[in-house]
């Protein structure tokens, strides 16, 4: 039986974090939440996460820095950025690293579902090749 994918959510705002978790769970996935990028990097979920949804503007490491760290450590996790401040820099970053995309806060539910689908599709494609 196929394992239920784990989606990790990183956001410094608890209410946003909990809301996103509830939405992800309602879609039928497992969701785990982290209050900061550091907390996520130290957890065991780094190697099992199928998709990462992260805020960009956070105290400590930003979403972009978190993504850089993951790439440097050899983890190829599809990333969805959520941000209150959309900017060109983030768009460039997404284009350059091949992240799934970025959504403005508050995000449209349909767009988030599309992004998660795309992330999991890419993830399963990778797993198939291994």
């Amino acid at each position: 039986m196929a394992q239920v994918p784990v989606i990790s959510i990183v956001d410094d705002d608890k209410s946003v974090r909990d809301a996103t978790k509830s939405l992800v769970r309602s879609l039928g996935y497992n969701a785990v939440t982290f209050g900061s990028a550091e907390e996520f990097l130290e957890s065991a979920y780094v190697s099992t996460t199928a998709c990462l949804i992260t805020d960009n503007q956070m105290p400590g490491l930003s979403g972009i820095e978190l993504c850089d760290r993951l790439i440097a450590d050899g983890h190829d996790i599809p990333v969805i950025f959520v941000t209150a401040f959309s900017n060109d820099r983030l768009q460039l970053y997404v284009d350059r690293t091949g992240a799934i995309g970025y959504l403005p806060k508050p995000f449209k539910e349909g767009r988030m579902v599309e992004c998660i689908d795309a992330a999991l599709k890419r993830r399963s494609g990778q797993n198939a090749r291994h």
Partner: protein, 527 residues
Amino acid sequence: MHDASEQQQLLMASLPPSPGQTRFALSIVAVLVAAFGVTAFFAKVQLARVDAFIPAAQTAIFINDVITSVLLFSQFSIVRRPALLALASGYCFAALMVVPHALTFPGLITPTGFLGAGPQTTAWLYILWHLGLPLASIAYVLLSGTESPKFMSERTTQAAIGLSVNMVVVLACVLVWTTTVQETRLPIILDGSGRLTLFGTLANGLIIFLAAFALVAIWVRRRSVLDLWLMVAIVAFLIEMLLSAELAGTRFSLGYYAGRIFSLIVAVIVLTAMLAQTTTLYADLAQSILRRRSTREARLIAMDTMAAAIAHEVNQPMAAMVTNANAALRWLARTSPDLGEVRTSLERIVNDGHRANDVIGSIRSMFKKDVRGRLLLNANELVREALTMVDLDLRNHEVLVTTDLRNGLPQLRADRGQLQQVFLNLIMNSIEAMSSVTGRGRVLRIRTDLMQDLSGILVAIEDSGAGIEGKDKDLIFNPFFTTKSAGTGIGLTICRSIVESHGGDLRASVNKPHGAIFEFTLPNGEL
């Protein structure tokens, strides 16, 4: 640009001297008097005739007097005080008289003097030349009480300078003509042996009397750095007159040479003081411009940061609410709806709603609750302060400012910092609105007035910019609405909330023929 009161404070003609400057001037006077004491003893000692001395000294005096005169004329064109015009004309006159005096000096160019001069010409020109400074100084003192007429525009100032220079030139020409062509008809000043006649002594005495009178008059009414150094110059002038006219006896005595050197000192003193002052003021000004620029930037940055922080603080609970609502819908849409999850989501939405309200409440209280910081303020002063702060922006965008500030307005009871934000924001908005304007003047007009029902005051900030389009008129006060490429759209919202928290009202309307008017009222704070 705007009214010259601030500029005037920085000019030598209106700046009061510091204690250090007064001490320095006194020490110069002491040195001059000591030098006089020494030379007075040997004044009659006859020295060799050095022909080069006269043209060299006179040329230096001429150049100094011309520059001093030009500087004084230019200070007049800024300060527009008639007293300065008189003094500048005096220096101009002295400069013009130095030239024929040197040309007609016997033996320099022709044996009896150039320009058809007679034996008395040079002596007469000396007397007339030296009447210039005392008379101009007296005129300077008499006029120094008169303030510049309000109607004096830049053009009339230029005209006044032109007229003065022309009059001085004509006067100098007439005097030269009288003392050369008409020389034989004039009373004799120097007798055959080169000594002063009774008339000559009286004429010199008159000059000394006038100079002493000028000195006392300036002393009594002294106010500015210019007054201070003019007094020092007159002391040197008196010494020159005493040495060369009364004590020296004849030409080319030690007293005569010393007199010419003092004459040179007279010409140098005011000029040096003005140049030194200008340099110091320039440095001070550069400093204050830097300071002003940084305060303004600090204020505007604070505003932007605050706006961004507010946006972020409100955005977070909004995002959570939207996502929770979406999640709740999903839980309900399942084949077996999970009501427990739906309940949790709805409870979270309620909490997020309260949180958003708290954020907004705390912003509102920032402008509303703190009445303790409110002081009695003068609206016109706030306008001037704000204009000073945006001075550089106004210059950079070539915006012409006109103010129409009504006197005797009632005071406001208001938070100074908050009202400054309102003024700064509205003025900066106007400047930005005009930045794309070409082909017509960029005019910022600020008007203060009493409200019609006398219950408070009214401030209007009018620009000649792009104006407000009809559909935008109702939206501009909405938070985050902006027509600017780089704006948060929260400035006007905050302005309105500040004005309303002070019991006033902020409105926008269309200016004729171009631009926008932002008008706000504030209640009388004295009631």
